[in-house]
């Protein structure tokens, strides 16, 4: 039998002193309320109501059973209320600090529509992994090599002036033998890309094509790197989306295909699965990642 449903009917009918009103308060037809109370009486082994009187008068057994029945109903209500609150409890997600406020706001709004409440926490790649490890965040968009990535963002070089060529070759930054005193253009790597699978191939290309070590440098902040690029012929390693936001002109790199990969790192596997399935598109838009068919959203 439905013990909780029967107790609700029992409490409501006894409080209102009428089967009709009690059934209405329980939001069931009167016949259902009567059947539930009859079932409860069979279950407990004694009559709860005195059927001989008009209206619903409690028997002595019914008066004894009323307080525990009320307690049971209140506890059940608490349980449902807590469940509702827990469902609204936000999931703290560590995201790249290179995402703009607008991107993060749109991700948050879209996640709510999909039934996931996020508490977004921006951090650099190493910081994001650490937040999950220390359980300060439930999940993070971790920087991973493209082979392990759930989301992929193609990187290229962006400069303040538009270039005619479709592709930028790193080698074009190499100074000719006759130019010795003029300032050499540099490539700036932002903190988000200070990870082995992006930084090291960039350094290897720098050495292989004969640039000076100082010509490819990791900057301390994205803003500092952008400032260097705006006032010169320097280039920023970034995604097409970032270049657009910063007002720079983006071109792919000629020598190598560099890809920023992201995957969900979470302490609980279920959290990771929920983010991947419910928020794939929202996160792809936020990161400027390719859709699975290769198109940018």
């Amino acid at each position: 039998m439905d013990l909780l449903g029967a107790c609700r009917a029992f409490v409501n009918v006894s409080e209102r002193g009428s089967f009709t009103e009690g059934a209405a308060a329980t939001r069931v037809p009167q016949s259902v309320a009567s059947r539930r109370i009859a079932a409860l009486e069979r279950h407990l082994g004694e009559r709860l109501f005195d059927r001989s009187s008009r209206g619903a008068t409690l028997t002595q057994f019914g008066r004894d059973m009323l307080p525990p029945a009320k307690r049971l109903v209140r506890l059940a209500d608490d349980l449902e209320h807590e469940a509702k609150r827990a469902r609204l409890n936000p999931l703290r997600l560590a995201v790249p600090d290179s995402c703009t406020t607008r991107d993060l706001a749109r991700l948050d709004a879209e996640a709510r529509r999909n039934g996931v409440h996020l508490d977004l926490h921006a951090a650099a790649p190493a910081g994001r992994t650490e937040l999950v490890r220390s359980r300060e965040a439930r999940a993070a968009l971790a920087a991973v090599p493209p082979g392990d990535a759930t989301w992929s963002v193609r990187l290229g070089l962006a400069g303040a002036t538009d270039r005619i060529a479709d592709t930028v070759y790193v080698e074009t930054l190499r100074a000719g033998r006759a130019e010795r005193s003029s300032r050499r253009s540099r490539i700036w790597i932002q903190p988000e890309d200070d990870v082995p699978h992006i930084r090291d191939p960039m350094f290897r290309i720098r050495d292989a094509v004969g640039l000076q070590p100082a010509q490819v440098t990791v900057s301390t902040t994205l803003a500092a790197a952008t400032a260097e690029v705006l006032g010169s012929t320097d280039l920023l390693l970034c995604s097409p989306k970032q270049a657009e936001e910063l007002g720079l002109h983006w071109r792919p790199v000629g020598e190598v295909d560099l890809v920023r990969g992201f995957a969900v790192a979470a302490a609980v596997r279920d959290d990771a699965e929920r983010i991947r399935t419910r928020l794939w598109h929202a996160i792809a838009r936020c990161l400027g990642a390719h859709e699975q068919d290769g198109e940018t959203p």
């Binding site: 190499r174 050495d207 000076q212 100082a214």
Partner: protein, 303 residues
């Protein structure tokens, strides 16, 4: 010369070198007045092929003493080295008979390792090392032949992975200028400081305990140096003569030489560098070495 200005210039040059991934010893000296300017000139370096100059001096001195005959023909086995880099006999496919005088040319002017080892077979490293102090040359240690020089980790790797050998060369140094690779360890390799090598240049270009005839032969061999990509572009012209010897080993790039101007001025230039860039071909570094050496020389010439 204004001392503050010179200090500023050297600080600026150090920064330029660092941007280019280079560090090292530079010493430029006016060989007539003895005035000099340098960056870390007392640091010891493995000297790589620069050792072929002490070898030439020792061999020519023994010819002068009558211990060797320059016209003696030596049978040289082919080097059989297919890797790019080595020159001359090292690339020969068949045995050849060559006179000692001509081995001196190949070793000193073409930097031929096989020719140098043929000379080391006549005068072993220990004997060269013992002869130098007799001629008033101190501070240059000659400990091994050229064949051992080619036994670097680079020879054991696929050419596509050669940059790993350079990375090892850059990263495996130990305290006190030691190194996990014996050839880069100044306590086990042929080594010397910029100052010691400058003394060798001075002894060859000005009157010294080295016999005048021997000095003249060595100067001529250095004048014929075929490797002119490093410092030569910044020092040679129709109004000056550049005589030198280069040395290259993994991340080490050296050149020592003398520029003689038509007006009679003579400057010794010693450049010993190590690069922290793990790449084999670094024309930018070569140009930078020359630029720094020229800037120092110009400051000495026009104080």
């Amino acid at each position: 010369m204004n001392a503050t200005n010179a200090a500023n210039l050297i600080r600026e040059l150090r920064r330029t070198l660092d941007d280019g991934g280079l560090s090292g010893s530079f010493l430029v000296r006016d060989l007539r007045s003895g005035e000099e300017l340098g960056i870390e000139p007392d640091l010891e370096f493995p000297i790589a092929s620069v050792v072929k100059i002490p070898l030439a001096v020792a061999t020519l001195e023994r010819i002068r003493r009558g211990e060797l005959d320059g016209s003696t023909q030596v049978t040289v086995r082919p080097g059989g080295i297919t890797a790019s880099g080595p020159t001359g006999l090292s690339k020969f496919r068949h045995p050849a008979r060559i006179a000692v005088d001509d081995l001196l040319y190949l070793s000193t002017s073409v930097s031929d390792n096989t020719a140098a080892d043929a000379l080391f077979a006549l005068t072993p490293p220990a004997e060269v090392s013992a002869l130098l102090p007799e001629l008033g040359i101190q501070g240059i240690a000659v400990r091994h032949t050229m064949r051992e020089l080619s036994e670097t980790p680079a020879e054991r790797l696929d050419p596509a992975d050669a940059h790993l050998a350079h990375f090892l060369a850059i990263e495996a140094g130990t305290a006190g200028r030691g190194h996990r690779i014996p050839l880069l360890d100044v306590t086990r390799a042929n080594s010397g400081s910029a100052r010691a090598l400058m003394e060798l240049l001075r002894a060859l270009w000005t009157p010294s305990r080295i016999d005048a005839g021997v000095s003249e032969r060595v100067r001529a061999l250095m004048g014929d140096n075929l490797l002119r990509h490093r410092l030569a572009p910044d020092f040679s012209s129709d109004a000056s003569k550049w005589s030198s010897k280069t040395g290259t080993l993994l991340n080490l790039r050296h050149e020592i030489g003398v520029v003689e101007h038509a007006d009679g001025q003579v400057f010794g230039v010693v450049v010993l560098t190590e690069s922290r860039v793990p790449a084999i071909s670094q024309p930018g570094a070569e140009a930078l070495m020359a630029q720094v050496a020229r800037t120092l020389r110009d400051r000495l010439r026009h104080p």
